[in-house]
C-alpha cells in the first residue's frame, strides 16, 4: 500500500484509499447535482405558473395572494417602522460624529437620505421579511409536505407550486418594495428627528438638504433591489419547504436553513445589483 492519507473511517475496509476519496467526491457531486436540479425545477415551475399559465386560462389565486400580502406585508409594518426609525437615528448620530469635526453637520441629511434609500432600506426590509415570512413559507410548505398535504394537492390535480408558491411570490414582489418605501420614509424621519433636536439643524434646512441630495434613481434602484429580494426570499423558502421529506425535526432544520440561505443570497444579489448600478446608471 502506498503511503498517503488514511482511508476514510466510514469506507469499507476492502476499499483502497483512492476508491474511498473518489467515492466520497462522487457522492458529494451527485447530491449537489440533485440539489441544483430541485432548485431549477422550483424556479422553472414558479416562473411558469406566475407569468405564463395565467395567459393560458389558469388564473392566479387572487384571494390567497391578498391574504399573503396581509400576512407578509401589512403585519410587518410595525416592526419595520420601529427598526427603520432607530436605524435612521443611529445613522444620523454616526454621521454627525465625523461631520461635526469639519463643521459640515448639514450633510447628515445627505448621508441619511442616500444610504437609506440606496442600501439600508431595502436590505433591512429584506432581512426582516426573510426572518418573518421566508421562514414561515418554509415551515408552512415543509409541514404540509410532512403531512402528505402536498401529495394530496398533486393527486387532486392541483399543482402545489401554483397553489402555494405563486400567491407568496406575488405578495413579496409587491410587498417588499412597498415596505421598503415605508422603511425609507421612516428612517429619514428618524434622522430628521435627531437632527432637529440633538444637532439643532433647522427643520426646513434639513428637509431641503434631503430633497436636493436624493435623486429619483437612488429611490428607484433601491426599490428594484427590494423587488429582487422578494423573489429570492420566496424561492428560498419554497425550495427549503419542498425539500422536507421527514417529520417535524426536518421542518425545523429547513426553516432555519431558509433564513440563513435567504439572507446570504439577498446579500449576494445586493452586491450584484449595486455593482451593476454603479457602472450603468
Amino acid at each position: 500500500m502506498p503511503s498517503g492519507p488514511k482511508p476514510a473511517a466510514s469506507a469499507p475496509a476492502s476499499a483502497s484509499w483512492p476508491e474511498a476519496v473518489l467515492g466520497a467526491l462522487g457522492r458529494r457531486v451527485l447530491s449537489l447535482r440533485g440539489d441544483i436540479h430541485d432548485a431549477a425545477k422550483i424556479i422553472n415551475d414558479t416562473v411558469h405558473w406566475t407569468f405564463i399559465s395565467p395567459f393560458k386560462g389558469r388564473p392566479i389565486r387572487f384571494r390567497a395572494s391578498i391574504s399573503e400580502m396581509v400576512k407578509a406585508g401589512y403585519n410587518s409594518v410595525p416592526i419595520i417602522s420601529v427598526i427603520s426609525l432607530f436605524v435612521g437615528i443611529i445613522l444620523a448620530l454616526q454621521a454627525a460624529y465625523q461631520l461635526k469635526r469639519m463643521g459640515a453637520l448639514i450633510y447628515v441629511a445627505n448621508l441619511v437620505g442616500v444610504s437609506l434609500t440606496r442600501e439600508l432600506g431595502p436590505i433591512m426590509t429584506a432581512i426582516i421579511v426573510s426572518g418573518r415570512s421566508g421562514s414561515a413559507f418554509a415551515a408552512e410548505i415543509g409541514s404540509m409536505k410532512a403531512a402528505e398535504e402536498v401529495d394530496a394537492l398533486t393527486t387532486m390535480g392541483v399543482n402545489p407550486v401554483r397553489y402555494l408558491v405563486v400567491p407568496k411570490l406575488l405578495a413579496l414582489m409587491i410587498m417588499v418594495p412597498a415596505l421598503t418605501i415605508i422603511s425609507d420614509l421612516v428612517g429619514i424621519f428618524g434622522g430628521f428627528l435627531l437632527a432637529v433636536t440633538a444637532l439643532e439643524i433647522h427643520p426646513y434646512n434639513y428637509f431641503q438638504q434631503t430633497v436636493n441630495a436624493l435623486l429619483i434613481k437612488d429611490v428607484f434602484t433601491g426599490l428594484l433591489k427590494a423587488w429582487a429580494f422578494g423573489i429570492v426570499i420566496t424561492l428560498v423558502g419554497a425550495y427549503q419547504g419542498f425539500k422536507v421529506t421527514g417529520g417535524a425535526e426536518e421542518v425545523g432544520r429547513r426553516t432555519t436553513a431558509s433564513v440563513v440561505t435567504s439572507i446570504f443570497l439577498v446579500v449576494i444579489v445586493d452586491l450584484f445589483f449595486t455593482g451593476l448600478f454603479y457602472y450603468f446608471t
Binding site: 398535504e149 394537492l153 387532486m156 392541483v158
Partner: protein, 261 residues
C-alpha cells in the same frame, strides 16, 4: 372480469435500493381490491405509483388502457380527475375548513357557481356522516372524523376509482369498522373501483373481493379471498395466522452481525 388497472413488469428503486422487483397484477373494475403485505414490502410505494406520485424505473401502469408512467402533467391531471385518494393521515389542508377542503377539487376543476358547490359539499359530507361540520377546521376533529372528511374530499368529483392508504391505521376498532362499511357502501351503491392498501387482516376479510399480496417487492398471490384463505404458501399462512418471522442465526453469523463486519 373487466380490468381497470393493469400493472406490467413494474420495477422501482429508492436510490440504489430496489423496492419493487417485478410486479405484474391487474385490478378489476367495480370491485374492492386489497393490496396486502407486511411492513416494508412495497405496498405503499406501489400505491404511490398507481396515483402517479412516483415514476417507476421500468414497467407500465395502464389505467383504462393508457400508460400513466409516460404521461405529462396535463394528461396525468385528466386521469387524476377520475381518481380519489384517501391518505393515511387524511391529508386535509389544515388552513381550510372542512367545507373548503371538500370544495377544493370542485373549484379547481369545474366552473360551477358557489351555491351549487355548497350543495355538493353538503351532500359529500352527509355521505360520510359529517353533515353540519363544514365550518370546522381539521384540527378540531378526531382522527376518525378526519379520515371520513378526507374520504368526502376524495369523492368530491365522483371518481371512477378510489385509493385508500391504510384506512384503519390509528383508528379504534369501532371507527375502523365504520370506515370499512363506507368502503363496502361505495362498491355496492356506486359500483366504484376501490383499491385499499392495508395490513389489517380482519378488514381484508370484510371488504375485499380481490386480493394482491406483496412480499419483498414481488407479487406473492393474486386472486379472490377464498383462494388466499385456502393457500398453503408458508408466507401467506404466517400472515393470516399472525405468526412471527422465524429468524435464526447460526452462532457465527450472529457474531458477524454484532461485530459489524
Amino acid at each position: 372480469m373487466e380490468t381497470a388497472i393493469e400493472i406490467a413488469g413494474l420495477q422501482t428503486h429508492y436510490g440504489s435500493r430496489e423496492i419493487l422487483k417485478n410486479v405484474c397484477a391487474s385490478i378489476p373494475r367495480g370491485k374492492t381490491t386489497v393490496i396486502l403485505g407486511g411492513s416494508g414490502c412495497g405496498k405503499s410505494t406501489l400505491l404511490k405509483h398507481l396515483i402517479g406520485l412516483l415514476k417507476p424505473t421500468k414497467g407500465q401502469i395502464l389505467i383504462n388502457g393508457s400508460d400513466i408512467t409516460r404521461m405529462d402533467e396535463d394528461e396525468m391531471n385528466e386521469v387524476r380527475k377520475k381518481m380519489g385518494v384517501l391518505f393515511q393521515g387524511a391529508a386535509l389542508l389544515n388552513s381550510l375548513t372542512l367545507g373548503d377542503n371538500v370544495a377544493l377539487p370542485i373549484r379547481e376543476h369545474t366552473r360551477l357557481n358557489e351555491s351549487t358547490i355548497k350543495i355538493m359539499v353538503r351532500m359529500k359530507l352527509d355521505q360520510v356522516g359529517l353533515s353540519g361540520f363544514e365550518n370546522f377546521f381539521p384540527s378540531q376533529l378526531s382522527g376518525g372524523m378526519k379520515k371520513r372528511a378526507g374520504l368526502a374530499r376524495a369523492l368530491a368529483l365522483d371518481p371512477e376509482m378510489i385509493f385508500f392508504d391504510e384506512p384503519s391505521a390509528g383508528l379504534d376498532p369501532v371507527t375502523a369498522a365504520g370506515l370499512d362499511e363506507l368502503i363496502l357502501k361505495l362498491r355496492n351503491v356506486f359500483r366504484m373501483t376501490s383499491i385499499v392498501v392495508t395490513h389489517e387482516i380482519e378488514s381484508v376479510f370484510k371488504i375485499s373481493d380481490y386480493v394482491i399480496m406483496l412480499d419483498a417487492g414481488n407479487v406473492l398471490y393474486q386472486g379472490d379471498l377464498a383462494g388466499l384463505k385456502a393457500s398453503d404458501h408458508p408466507r401467506i399462512r404466517m400472515f393470516l395466522e399472525r405468526q412471527p418471522e422465524q429468524e435464526t442465526y447460526s452462532p457465527d453469523d450472529y457474531f458477524k452481525i454484532i461485530a459489524g463486519d
